[in-house]
Structures are given as structure tokens and as C-alpha cells.
Amino acid sequence: MSTLTKILIVLLTISSIFLCGIVVTYVANADNYKKLYEDERQAKQLAVTRRDAADKQLEQSKKQYEQQEDKLNKQITALKADVTTLGGQLASVKRENAELLQRVTDMASVVESASQTAKQQTQLFKDAQEQLKQLEARQTRQGKELDETVAELIAKTAIIETLESDKKRLEEEKYALQSELDKFLRQRGKEVSFVPTVTPEVAPAPPPIPSVPREIGLKAVITAVDLKHAIAEISIGAAHGVKEGMKFFVTRGSQFVCEIVIFSVDAETSVGDLKRMDQLQPKVGDNVSTNL
């Protein structure tokens, strides 16, 4: 065996061992592509399955979305109709609110006028009470005066009776003297002369002069007016001399308003019909008087 052959054998052996080591190392460290492939294929199948499921779910979601959209569209339509209806109701409620506010304002003014009228009535009541007290005091004073007058009248009546009896006695004495004088004159042959009485005959009392109704100047104000029934109430009554049928003239400043013909009289107030109500209408506070 030649030396070259030997060298070749040795080189062949060394290279074979070296290559074998490289191959073993490579094969031992090589990736398992089949396993990787299987894994990838399973992953792909799983992804495809998930995609199909996702597609189905997407379709179901689309159907649900469409159904939900239809339902919501119907609800939107219904709600729009409700909104329209509620808008109408809101407008009507606003109108009612405005009307109620107007009524509240009117009622407030009415209440204010009523309270003012109540204050006036209270003041009138106080005035009437004051006048009543004055009248009671005057009545008491007049009662005393009446008692004194009655006592004086009784005394004077007694005096008159005494004078009457004296007068009768004097007349009897006068007749007696007259008869004695007649007898004496007849005895003397003289005529009987008529002796006039000393006291002249009292002429009959003239008939009482009819009392002419004096022109009374009653003045008052209107305390209440009812234009519907054309009646009004004034602040004076029987205590002031008002009687049924009296006519009052209603004036406001220098303007003539109407006439009031009294048909009901109380102690402190009177009520009458409104007459000749042409241009102006009477109201509370207008002046009332019997004379223009």
C-alpha cells in the first residue's frame, strides 16, 4: 500500500468523521418542520373554524342589528308621534298656564279690591259705631231732658188744673156778683147793662201750617255697585234721613254719572236703582248727593 493511499485513507477517515459530526449536529438541531406544519395546519383549521363561527356570529349579529334597527325605527316613529302629541299638549298646557296666571292676576286684583272694600266697610263700621255711641249719648241726654220735661209738664198740668178750678170759682163769683148787680140795678130802676168780661175770648188756634219739606242736602259715596242688576249701595241710611223713593244724583268730579232711586233703606246704608245711566258707569267712591 503506497504512502499516498495511506494518506488518503487517513484524510478520508478524518473528513468522514468531521462530516459525520457536522451532519449529526445539524440533524440533531434541525427543526421538526412536519410538526411545525401540523401545528400551523391545525392553527389554520382552528382559525378557519373561528372565522366561520365569526362569520355566522356576524350574520346573526347583522340580523339582530337589522331587527333591532327596525324595532328602534318603529320606536323612533312612535316616539316622534308622541313628541308631536306632547308638543301639542305642552302648547295647550302653556295656554292654560297663561290663562290661569291671568286669572290669578285678576283674582289678586279682586282680592285687593275686596280687601280695600273690607277696610272701607270696617272704617264705616267704626264710624257707625262712633255715631251710634254719640246717638246713644244724645238719647240718654234727651231721655233725661224728656224726664225733666215730663216732670215739668206734670207740674204745669197741676198748675193748669189749679188755675182751671180758680177760673171756675171766679166765674161762679162773677155770675153771683152779676146777679147781685142786676138785682141792685133793677131796684134802682136802671137798665141792665152788659158788662164785658175782662178776659178777652181767645181766638181759636189757626190750623197747623203744613210743613214744607225742606231742601235737605244729603251727601254720601257709593259703597257697592252691581251693574248687572243696575243697583247700587250708598253710605247713608235712615239714620241720616234717607227714605224710600228719594232720588240721589251720582257725580264724579264735575261730571254727572247717573241717578239713584232708593228702594231699600237700612240704618246706615241704602240701596237704589240706577237711572239715566247714559255714558258713564257708576263705581265705588263716586259722590252721591240729593242736590246737584
Partner: protein, 52 residues
């Protein structure tokens, strides 16, 4: 390396077995690698030479 016996006078000298052992060792290594590679191919791909 021992000197190789030469044939003298037409007599055949016994060849040295050292290089034969080296060759056998190299062959065994190659065979072992081939077996290992075949085993790995079979285990990983269920076949030795590939194909569908």
C-alpha cells in the same frame, strides 16, 4: 506509522491492518450517521426518503 512489509522475491507480505481498521472506523461512523439520519427522518417525517 510502522513500515509496511514489503514482498521480497514474490512472497506476499502480510498487510498492515491499521489502515483497514481506520477505514472500518470511518465506514462505521458514516454508517452510524446514516442510521441516525434515517432514524431522525423516520421519526420526524414518517419516511426515510421523503415523498408524498
Amino acid at each position: 506509522m510502522s513500515p509496511e512489509p514489503r514482498s521480497r522475491g514474490g512472497n506476499m507480505a502480510a498487510p498492515s491492518n491499521l489502515y483497514t481498521v481506520i477505514l472500518a472506523l470511518a465506514l462505521a461512523a458514516v454508517a452510524a450517521v446514516a442510521i441516525f439520519v434515517a432514524y431522525k427522518c423516520y421519526v420526524q417525517y414518517d419516511t426515510i426518503f421523503g415523498g408524498v
